[in-house]
Symmetry: C2
Subunit: 186 residues, 2 copies
C-alpha cells in the first residue's frame, strides 16, 4: 500500500522491493497532479489499484463522467481503480466490471480526518488477510474499507479507530449488506 | 400511483376511491411546495410512499442531509420515501430500514425526459404484479424502476420504452445485481 507521497518516492519504494507483491495499491492526490505529473504517470504504470476521490479522478482523466474517467485511468496502468465519492459511496472499476458501494447513511460526520487512509487500509487489509484478489473479493474489500472509514469519522482524528472492535466491524458490514443487497426478480 | 399533479387533485382522487388501495404512491415536485404547501401537507397524510428527487426532499424537509430529510418526511405521513439522486442512484427509507440503490454507470444520458415517471411506473408496477409490500420487495421495486428508467434515457422521450423487451429488462436487472450486490465476510 503506497500511501499518498510524491510519486517519485512511491516508484522508488516499488523499485527497492526484491519481490514484487501480488498487489500494489496506490493513493495519490491533486497536489501531485499539479506538481509531479510525469512522475505520477510513470508510477501509475507500475501499480495494480489506484484509490482516489471523484474530483481527483476527474482531474487525472480530464473527464467529467466518473465512468469515462475510470476507463481512461485504467488505460494509464492500474488494473483497477477505486473512486471514493464521499456521501455517495465508492465505485470500483476493472476493465470489465463495475461495483457501486453505498455510503453508510449517517446524519452527521463528526470529523472526516483520516477517512481516506482508513478506507485504503481496510481495503488492502481485507485483501491481504484473505489472499483472494478476485473482483468479487475486491467488492467485499471496498465494503470493509467503507465500514472502517465510517467508524473513523465518528470521532476526532483516529480516536474511534483505537477502540473499534471486530464485533462492531462485523455488525457494520451487516448494515452495509442490508443497505445495498437486494433480490432480483423471478 | 398519483402522478405529479396539484396535491388538492391528488387528494380528491384518493377521496373518490370507494376502497382504499393497499398502497398509494405519490409523485410531487418543487412547484407544489411553492404554490400549494398546505394542500401538499394534507395529501401527504393520506399516502404510503412518496417519490421525489434529492433537491425536492431538501426543500420539503428543510434539511440538507438526505437521511435527516427522509426521517422528517416520514413524520409528515408517508410510511416510505424514495429519494432519486440521478447519477448517484436512489434511496428508499422506511421508519426502520434504508436501502441504497446505485445508478447504472452510463457514459452519457441521451435524454432524461420521462425518467422519473418511468421509475415510478416500474416501482409500483413491480409491487402491483407481486402483491408483496415488504421492505425487501420494495428494494427490488426500486431496482425495477431504476432499470426501466435506464432504458428511458437511452433515446428521445419515451421512444426506447416502446421497444424494450422483458428479456432486456431482466438482463438489466442482472447488471444492477452485479453492480450492487456483494458478499459479506466470514
Amino acid at each position: 500500500m503506497l500511501g499518498n507521497l510524491g510519486p517519485a518516492i512511491q516508484r522508488s519504494v516499488i523499485q527497492q522491493l526484491k519481490n514484487r507483491p501480488k498487489l500494489i495499491v496506490m493513493d495519490t492526490m491533486n497536489f501531485w497532479m499539479e506538481t509531479a505529473w510525469d512522475d505520477l504517470l510513470d508510477t501509475l504504470k507500475l501499480i495494480d489499484v489506484l484509490v482516489i476521490n471523484d474530483s481527483e479522478a476527474r482531474q487525472l482523466s480530464g473527464e467529467y463522467s466518473i465512468v469515462k474517467g475510470a476507463k481512461k485511468i485504467i488505460q494509464m496502468g492500474p488494473k483497477c481503480v477505486v473512486i471514493k465519492k464521499g456521501e455517495h459511496g465508492a465505485m470500483l472499476f476493472s476493465q470489465d466490471n463495475i461495483f457501486s458501494a453505498p455510503a453508510l447513511p449517517i446524519d452527521e460526520v463528526f470529523d472526516p480526518t483520516g477517512a481516506g487512509d482508513t478506507f485504503a487500509g481496510g481495503f488492502i487489509g481485507h485483501l491481504a488477510r484473505t489472499g483472494d484478489l478476485s473482483f468479487e473479493n475486491m467488492k467485499t474489500a471496498v465494503i470493509v474499507g467503507s465500514s472502517l472509514a465510517s467508524f473513523c469519522v465518528e470521532k476526532f482524528g483516529l480516536e474511534r479507530m483505537k477502540t473499534v472492535t471486530q464485533d462492531e466491524i462485523k455488525n457494520r458490514m451487516l448494515q452495509f449488506f442490508k443497505l445495498a443487497n437486494f433480490e432480483t426478480y423471478a
